[in-house]
Amino acid sequence: MSGGEHAPERDGYRYPLYRRNDRRLARDYRGPLYLWDIDNTYLVTEYRGLRDLVRLRFESAQDKRPVPGAVELLAALRKGEEGTSGVRPPIYFVSASPESLRGRLEKRMLLDGVLHDGITFRDLHKLRYLRDIFGFKLIALLLYRLENPPAAREVLFGDDLEHDPYVYPLYAQVCAGELRGDELREELLRRGVRRSASVYAAALAGELPTHDPVEWMVIRRLRRRPAAPDEDPRLVRVDDYAQAAALLRAAGFVSRSGLRAVLRAVRSAGGAADVLAPLRGLEDRLGSLEAVRTEAEPEEDAE
């Protein structure tokens, strides 16, 4: 698999990105749909400066390593509930990396057995967009939303090193119809998005039905920064993917065996200290956590 399409034009302009959507779901599909960031969410990306940027550029697929538990969580999401063999929930990736890394990233996914349905990369031939990650992410999400069934239930995965905790709630607001038109344009300009890109995003948003599809936003915590008091309650920060899997198990997105596979992977990497920590306080949405607590107990013979 290689190559990708440009974004569609609106008023003679299109945002510089390459994208693929290899799946056409039935319009009445009401199941889950997952959107993943790549760097620091699926793959470990140590980036501290220009030197690391060069290293990442030349890093082979074999050198890239997934975040502990990410591969198992992706597999569990794909499989969904136990014993189902019908439609597998779609998984899309949105990466701020340049499209030239597609081959290596897809090779890594192949090696990890990660099945995806499309990836969006940045087109960095236009260097003036180099810093516009916020605008890129929002536009990439909106383009998938336009194509995918309106009733699909979205779960977004990211990390708190860059813009994910801000882009994802904003995206939900846009879908819900709370932020559109000039208001959206101004908000994006305030966040440093280029003017042409903000106009483009607003045009795409205008084509969406008024429906908020986002059920959860799972953010991998890499910074010790407290959440804002008015943060979207659907945004859950996790220390590792054991916590993410517990949340998604409680919410009915992954099976028991899927949860246990993630737990094993995270535990073997030294994580999963307090699996239920981010779920506390969410009982009104998730119900009792007792079943998940039992399922998340360490396996007697495995560890």
């Binding site: 698999m1 290899d22 799946r23 056409r24 890093e59 082979s60 074999q62 050198d63 390593r65 597999a75 794909r78 499989k79 063999s85 019908g86 439609v87 597998r88 779609p90 090779k107 192949l110 090696l111 990890d112 057995g113 099945l115 349905d117 499309g118």
Partner: protein, 530 residues
């Protein structure tokens, strides 16, 4: 072969081959020499012009003149000269010190080379668990049984043959399991790579030049194998003769080489050797991916029935492809299975750990009686011996099928190909392989159902002992098997056999798909395709 045994072996081979021809009379002598000179001329004339070629042709001319004008004793001397030339060329040389070095160097060398495919990992070491090939090779089955027998006689190991890497994998695997070096014939083409040649020679290989078509040369090879067995050298034969071109478990075996086990046993009994027994241990090598699959299947399909016997320009000849392959094997976390099956005697009977031959009810059989006439005298009978060897061949073939370890690539390729056939009813195989038929892809849920059904049937076959399931095929569900197969197909080959795009599976290289699918042919599963 150790230096001290070499001259003895050469003289024994010359004596037997020349004696065998001479005892058939003057005409047989003349025919054998004329045949050999004819085939040798045919071979040499195909070589590129060189001083060496000119000298070889001149020598053949001189030998032809000697044949035409010579008396019987002179012809016998000429035959002696030809046989000696072949025997000395074939002779393997084994130095225990170099062997010890080579077996230590194989894993270290491979690990270094493999890490060198990613410079970062070379610097970092194996922190991510990228172990060496030794961790990827699983020697299983009747290992202890075979080990016990090497003290009670001489063992002939008979593996399936998929790849030129087999010799290296086998040599190394058997060494790791504590077996002494095995003597085996390796095609001359394998010696063209200096590094591989070094390992082959010192892991016990002797040269087999498949360009030499003269029956006399084949006699020398067989006699050399027989003599080495009699001298107590454990041997390794590939009874399939050459690599399986179509990816199938071999069902047509070359009985000539297998028959040397009986010859050696006969001679041992005749000269009353203290440990006359010869044991045959079938072995099955199962790979998730095969290094030369692309070339082999192309060859199989292009000239089915008349395959190129010697392929010199395949993936094995390219160090880059070999490294890619090995690196893929490590990254995939897959295992190469080397399965030793139940040992047999030269007549195809089962053998217990004490080396006793057993009948179908487990009762001991005195097999030396098989070689005696009604008067109790030891006697050669070519028709009878051919029948014994045919029985042995059947048992070895049966063991090959039972020892075949099924991998995810085999299951998914079989299921995908069956689905392809279902979608294109009545399509000719070659047309289907060339064009892919009317559907360029298969819906993933359909493949899932096929794999699930096939997995059920394979489990039933495994329960009956008719094949073996790799650990992942035995434990994982259809979803996971498909992911693993896609991963394997996408890792090494130029074009993947199958590729997933969204929720559809595209058959990108149908020849490869057919190759991997063929590993499950012969178990009666074919009915599923209809």
């Amino acid at each position: 072969m150790r230096k001290e045994d070499q001259e003895r072996a050469v003289q024994e081979v010359i004596g037997r081959v020349v004696g065998g021809v001479a005892e058939r009379g003057s005409q047989a002598l003349e025919n054998a020499i004329a045949d050999t000179l004819y085939w040798e001329r045919q071979r040499i004339e195909k070589e590129r012009p060189s001083a060496q070629r000119t000298r070889a042709l001149a020598r053949l001319d001189a030998q032809r003149r000697a044949l035409l004008g010579g008396s019987d004793p002179e012809r016998k001397r000429l035959l002696h000269e030809l046989v000696e030339g072949f025997a000395r060329e074939v002779l393997g040389y084994f130095d225990p010190k170099v062997h010890a070095l080579a077996t230590r160097a194989v894993p270290v060398g491979l690990r270094t080379l493999l890490k060198a495919t990613s410079p970062r990992q070379l610097l970092r070491g194996s922190e991510h668990g990228l172990g060496g090939l030794e961790e990827r090779l699983l020697v299983d089955g009747e290992v202890a049984h075979a080990r016990a027998l090497r003290e009670r006689g001489t063992v002939v190991f008979c593996p399936t043959h998929s790849s030129n890497l087999d010799s290296i994998v086998l040599g190394y695997g058997m060494h790791e399991e504590g077996f002494p070096p095995l003597l085996y014939g390796a095609g001359l083409n394998l010696f063209s790579n200096p590094l591989v040649s070094f390992f082959l020679r010192n892991l016990g290989a002797y040269r087999v030049d498949r360009r030499k078509k003269a029956p006399l040369y084949k006699d020398v090879l067989k006699t050399y194998a027989t003599v080495s067995l009699e001298l107590g050298y454990h041997n390794l034969f590939f009874p399939g003769g050459t690599r399986s071109r179509g990816g199938h478990v071999e069902s047509k075996l070359k009985l000539g080489l297998l028959g040397t086990a009986l010859d050696a046993y006969y001679h041992n009994v005749k000269v009353r050797r203290p440990r006359p027994r010869i044991f045959v241990v079938p072995m099955v090598l199962s790979y998730e991916l095969v290094l030369e699959a692309e070339t082999l299947i192309d060859d199989y399909l292009r000239e089915q029935g008349q395959s190129r016997y010697i392929i010199t320009d395949d993936e094995f000849a390219s160090p880059r492809r070999v490294l890619q392959f090995l690196s893929g094997i490590l990254e995939l976390d897959t295992r190469i299975h080397l399965t030793l099956m139940e040992p047999l005697d030269p007549f195809g009977n089962r053998v217990d750990r004490e080396g006793r031959s057993l009948d179908g009810r487990g009762r001991e059989i005195a097999i030396d009686r098989y070689l005696r006439g009604v008067d109790g005298e030891l006697r050669r009978d070519p028709d009878r011996d051919r029948e014994y060897t045919r029985l042995l061949g059947e048992r070895v073939r049966d063991a090959f099928f039972r020892g075949n370890t099924v991998m995810p690539t085999h299951v998914v390729a079989y299921a995908a190909f069956a689905e392809l056939r279902r979608l294109n009813p009545g399509a000719d195989l070659y047309r289907l392989l060339r064009t892919g038929g009317n559907h360029e892809s298969i819906p993933l849920p359909d493949l899932f159902r096929r794999v699930d059904e096939l997995r059920g049937r394979l489990r039933a076959l495994a329960a009956e002992g008719r094949l073996r399931l790799g650990e992942r095929v035995a434990t994982l569900g259809a979803d996971d098997l498909i992911v693993l197969a896609l991963r394997a197909f996408g890792t090494y080959h130029t074009r993947p056999a199958l590729e997933r795009v969204g929720d559809r599976i595209y058959h990108r290289d149908r020849n490869l798909l057919y190759y991997y699918r063929n590993r499950l042919v012969g178990y009666g599963l074919e009915d599923d395709e209809r």
